[in-house]
Symmetry: C2
Subunit: 359 residues, 2 copies
């Protein structure tokens, strides 16, 4: 009933001593129940409870067994942001579903790009996991480099391929093409793009060629590329399509950006947002300018978050949960350097309408 030497908690050995068996046998009582007589096992379990022994120490188990029964999910940006983002949450849910019955825990890891000082910088990913899923990290992210150095399976989602790692991504090209064709058919010729941030520096404003070349977030680049290709294929000159980059405050910056774009002499009739939250900001801007959606302005988003459905926002739906599930599956397979491609879908809603007659 008393705790053992100098305040430590009971271990296998303490239980073994109390019962009068070897610590190996106690270990077996917990991990290999079949190897014991029922009677002895019962005595051991009773003694364990009496000593307040809660079962094998997970750290020691991990060390000895060489596995942690946990996988890490590394999210971009900081937690508050990521955990407010429906897309990231969808991925999280997908991963969670994949592991829920497997007794595998999920370690949430924030990708700390800016390490505090040099001392920290050499510390690699400090986490006992058997594998990692990296979601939408900047390709120069330190977190990617640190994860890659460890010799554990890795799967990346929505970010550049990584040598030896599994790869899950969404091909939005077909869906974007459908959206572009539809917009073109409805008469839209003057188009502008509201972009998520291209670099870690959170600049807000119009994007020029130099800025595009410096871009770090591949998902954003892919979305811009998809729209550029699609717009070109329906006959628009992409040099006439201005891009406004929004820094940190998504809705607010998008609202500002939309106001700027809509103030141009050739006012766009269609605003393409690279995320639904940007699109919501654009809609707010339109309202503040006295423009009606879609009568005066059409808006297309990206992601299909819950609000998009409620507010009638046309958008490009992403299979968020499926990304997570596929990544988890890939991680568990023999050679996890396989690739999985999922398809996005264009969801047409009320925010996309015909070009106003007077335009």
């Amino acid at each position: 009933m008393e705790d053992e030497r100098r305040g430590r908690y009971a271990t296998l050995k303490d239980v073994a001593r109390l019962v009068g068996v070897s610590h190996t046998t106690v270990s077996n009582a917990f991990s290999q129940p079949d190897r014991l007589s029922v009677d002895l096992r019962t005595r051991i379990l009773t003694a364990a409870r009496e000593l307040g022994y809660a079962g094998p120490n997970p750290a020691a188990q991990s060390l000895r067994r060489g596995r942690a029964d946990a996988v890490g999910l590394v999210l971009s940006h900081d937690f508050p942001f990521a955990l407010s983002d429906p897309a990231a949450l969808g991925v999280l849910r997908g991963v969670g579903m994949a592991y829920r019955d497997q007794h595998i825990n999920l370690l949430l890891i924030a990708s700390h790009d800016k390490e505090a000082g040099v001392a920290r910088a050499i510390i690699p990913n400090h986490a006992a996991v058997d594998g990692m899923i990296l979601y939408s990290l900047a390709h120069n992210s330190g977190a990617v480099a640190r994860a890659a150095r460890r010799h554990i399976p890795i799967v990346v989602i929505d970010q550049p391929r990584l040598e030896g790692a599994g790869f899950v991504w969404v091909d939005s090209r077909a869906a974007v093409m459908r959206a572009a064709e539809r917009g073109h058919a409805l008469g839209h010729r003057r188009v502008a793009i509201l972009s998520l941030k291209l670099c870690a520096d959170s600049r807000t404003g119009l994007v020029d060629a130099g800025r595009r070349a410096a871009a770090h977030y591949p998902m954003v680049m892919e979305r811009i590329g998809a729209w550029h290709d699609a717009l070109a294929r329906v006959g628009l000159d992409i040099d006439d399509v201005p891009i406004w980059e929004c820094g940190e405050a998504l809705e607010t910056d998008a609202c500002r950006g939309a106001a700027v774009l809509l103030a141009q002499e050739r006012r766009p009739t269609l605003l393409i947002a690279l995320s639904d939250r940007l699109a919501l900001g654009a809609i707010r801007a339109a309202r503040e300018l006295g423009l009606s959606v879609p009568r005066d302005l059409s808006v297309i988003g990206f992601d299909d978050i819950p609000e998009a459905c409620q507010l009638g926002l046309a958008t490009i739906w992403q299979p968020h949960e499926a990304k997570g599930e596929e990544a988890a599956r890939l991680l568990g397979e023999e050679n996890s350097q396989r690739e999985v491609t999922l398809e996005a879908t264009f969801v047409e809603r009320e925010s996309l309408g015909e070009v106003p007659a007077q335009a």
Copy 2:
């Protein structure tokens, strides 16, 4: 450049051998950089990179140091459910915010109440964490018992006090009282309650005294209690207030339940829902019955999820993120058996209106 004996990966010792120093020195190079000459440290780091050594093995580090630099967050139900629940996500976000700059990882743990077989049943919480936060678990949950057996700090949120554990909860009584007074002032006398499930068995239907006595979810009991007290204090007879319990399918069951409650001879003028999602189901039911909210029927929810704001649902707001932050703070303090009480707030919106004239 080649991997060492039988496919294992490099360890401190391998690096030490390559550089020609002791493994202690290599350890210091990573963990106590000041104890080395700059030159030696550089040579060691170079050698480590060459061997593909990714830094100290987390499991071994944990074992030796006696801490894991991780905390566990145990969520009720399964992941998909919890990660769709705005309240749980708020808590998760709060906890995440608290730890984001502390280099502490967050382990998401699903409370597996139903263990698969007896063999599993003795396996305690298999996770290397320095502390645990338990959120809204049923008080007979096996997860609570397993966590309590371990000798690590614990904080519980929105569930019964646990011996020796920190305790964070929200006092809704004042807010509910305000809501009840407001409803009473608007003339509401006939009231009904839509409840979340009381037990794990997912029954759906009207609640009688026996069912209430068998209830397992304390948060639900607390919400019912708060409303009962408040309604009694404004002069209503709580025996006249029927309660409909919704099983798994929140919106659907709430819709059914609301239809039943509204079909009674003394049709309620105010429907009190113990969660916003139930309230949304009630509003749907009203619409299907041709009733207008709030002209023919008023509805009050609980939680203040994003949709509540958008749809003008009056509700009891909860400080979700603050719960998580406070829990994390408590966990880090010396004696984490302290208590924190947070306050809910009544948010009046359009779904609460005057009693219809003909009633």
